[in-house]
Amino acid sequence: MDHILTVQNLTKKFGYITAVKDLSFTIEKGNVYGILGPNGSGKSTTLGIVLNVVNKTSGQFSWFNGQASTHEALKKVGAIIERPNFYPYMTALQNLKLVCKIKDVEEDKIEEKLELVGLLDRKDSKFRTFSLGMKQRLAIASALLNDPEILILDEPTNGLDPQGIHQIREIIKTIAAKGTTILLASHLLDEVEKVCTHVVILRKGEKLYSGRVDSLKASFGFFELKTSDMDSLHSFLKENEHFGEIKIENGLLTAFLNTELDPQKLNKLLFENGIVVSHLVKRKESLEEQFLELTKNAKA
């Protein structure tokens, strides 16, 4: 298997605070990864360590199966951490040329990448005249200059207006469609849910989950039901082998499934047993609910 990044038992302490605790995960080629976690859960620190700007306290990480030193490997990586950082007195084009020099790549991709992020007409404007959304898009263009094997984005839509967020997401989707491996750190769950195939979930520097997004959401879903006679509905479902946990909140009964069950079948079954429902919806938990569930459990 092609491992782009392997992280083993990584730990980072800032004084007496442990920002990252014994973290291990691997990034494989071709997938879109999300690192999820509330603010201060160690996402940015983890990315900082593998990107050579934060010193680790203990543990290891290696790029591309450990074949290259970190700074050589970084030339094949495109990364944006937090705010876009460029020389404010230089134009977009000059800044990108400088990045080309640092990454040791030809300058012929500049126009193409500026086109991709929609900044080609502003290429001769100074960086300091750009809006935040434009700065962020320039950062993406810069990260793509070397056609990276992996693109690392840390909160790419932070602080942007809805239009900017939409633009960035479209760009990410375009890049992902080309088969580039992407590592996206975010606390915005729907963002991760929409784009990523795999997730690593962190809380207080510890890994809670890592694996496919679908297997995180692997439950069979649940039914939301309403009827005039809630008690008989409740006792009926309790006896049924399909259902596990059942709870009633605000006159709405939520029953979690243990096995696959078709809503039509359930409706029929209930009707045959003399229960007529006024409300029947089958739903699956969103990533957000899963995430909250996970982080809540970890607290206990």
Partner: protein
Amino acid sequence: MIRLLHIEFIKLWNNRASKILIISYFTLLTSIALFAAIKFDIGPIQFHLADQGIFNFPYIWHFNTFITAFFKLFLAIVIVSMMSNEYSNKTIKQNLIDGLSKKEFILSKFLTVISFSLISTLFVFVVSLILGLAYSDYNEISIILTDLEFLVAFFVKLTGFFSFCLFLGVLVKRSAFALGFLILWQVFEGIVRGIIRWKLFDGETTDVIMGFFPLQAMFNLIKEPFSRLGAVQSVVNQIGEELRLDYAIHWYEILIVLVWTAIFIYGSYAILKKRDL
């Protein structure tokens, strides 16, 4: 190496403030030629600086390297800000993420320092050579080539000083504070000299000890040239005194500055390596 220099060049040359400072610095270096034009003509008193022998070989090497070394402050500002701007713009972080190693980063700055010193030395060499050929009383090749070690000292002095500025830029991260620190350090060396002289040793020992402090060591490389002037010497002789100062450049003085340079550059690297950005 060319790549690293080129990277620094792009950063510096596109910054208007740096560009203006660099240009004015080299203009000033050239302007030392204007000394030749100083000429008083007040009735019976005629004074033409060029005739006073300051452009005589080999004295001119000493005089010009001493005077032009003061202009280095212009480049000091450029160097301090080229380092601290990387921190305030956070571009140092981006540079590292983009694949520059910390070693390469410091190396690119150090190479810039070396280039600045080298170009300055060349400039002073050419300007002095032209001035000397125009005004010197002696034009024999052997005399022209004497005392060229002043140019070596000039180069080492600038490299040492700029490395100090670079180090302060890394340490303090803010250009204004770093320059303030530089002045503070100068004051500090003065105070230390005062204390040593007052409480501990006689004048000679104090000078030896002070010779190990970075700024004093750099200053010691090229001693003041004025008392060496023919006019000054003859005045002193008339009063019946004799001035015997040691103007020569000693190998240990060069060594001290080189050691400081190494400490500053390695120190910058060590700080950068240890810091979380």
